[in-house]
């Protein structure tokens, strides 16, 4: 149960990061200024990258906890 809660918490962190990243990406796609590209890659891309990484790590740690 504790392991399930910990997995859910990690999924929530990953999801929050991904939502923030996706919202930034959507705004940058609508904003037609050169700086939008930098924000898209640097902030949006980083948030998405970290979000995906947290998700993958949560899967790995969950399978390790189940052993």
């Amino acid at each position: 149960m504790a392991s399930a809660n910990s997995l859910e918490k990690r999924l929530q962190i990953a999801g929050t990061l991904l939502i923030l990243g996706l919202l930034i990406e959507a705004l940058c796609l609508l904003w037609k200024a050169p700086i939008a590209f930098i924000i898209f890659v640097a902030i949006g891309g980083s948030l998405l990258g970290v979000g995906v990484l947290v998700y993958l790590l949560s899967l790995v740690s969950a399978s390790a906890d189940n052993r």
């Binding site: 999801g15 991904l18 037609k32 050169p34 891309g45």
Partner: protein, 208 residues
């Protein structure tokens, strides 16, 4: 993929991610696990790649280049009503795509040229927002303009290969093709943007 479609995809991904964040317990079932993989891995990466592609294409547009105010005079020079102005003549007669006019001439048609040009573009954005951009009249090319960029379109064209001036001396064409005789700085097509004389110029009015 159109911008509108990518934005919809990105927002759809965000909504689905929101569902998993609010109710993480749904990932305990097999279907929930598949949903989580799609929402937390596949869709974000696909959105990122599609968005990057869209941003890359946008960075090639004339409007993108001219959105920096230091580029305004160069944009104006595209409308000079004088065929001697190389950039204007190419833009107005659609010898280059009007919506990608800057990129078509100022890209690098060599191997990895696109990557090189995109990195230069990033440098321009950095200087524009975080550095001190030079005054328009002080903007210079990093390297002399390479004939390769002209020959990308003109090589093999009758007007180029059989042009009176180009064929007057048999050594001219090989020298141009070998980039030993520059198209733009040898007293031939040397009036390109000439922004110093914009005040004296007559302008062509583009009809919508």
């Amino acid at each position: 993929m159109p911008t509108f479609a990518i934005v919809i995809l990105v927002l759809f991904s965000a909504v689905l991610a929101g569902v998993v964040v609010v109710r993480p317990a749904i990932t305990m079932s097999r279907a929930g696990k598949i949903l989580a993989f799609g929402v937390f891995f596949f869709l974000p990466l696909f959105s990122l790649v599609a968005g990057m592609e869209n941003q890359m294409q946008r960075s090639e547009s004339t409007a993108f280049c001219l959105s920096c105010h230091v580029m305004e005079p160069y944009g104006k020079s595209l409308h000079i009503d004088d065929p001697a102005y190389l950039a204007g003549a190419h833009y107005q007669n659609h010898r280059v795509p009007a919506d990608e006019a800057c990129y078509t001439c100022h890209t690098d048609y060599a191997m990895f040229g696109t990557l090189k040009v995109k990195l230069s573009g990033l440098r321009h954005v950095y200087i524009y927002y975080l550095g001190t951009p030079p005054a328009p009249q002080n903007i210079k090319l990093y390297q002399p303009f390479n004939n390769r960029e002209c020959l990308h379109c003109h090589l093999g064209a009758r007007s180029f290969e059989e042009g009176v001036v180009h064929t007057a001396d048999p050594a001219t064409l090989p020298a141009i093709k070998a980039n030993k005789l520059s198209c733009v700085s040898s007293g031939c097509h040397d009036v390109v943007h000439d922004i110093a004389h914009l005040n004296d110029a007559k302008f062509w009015k583009e009809t919508d």
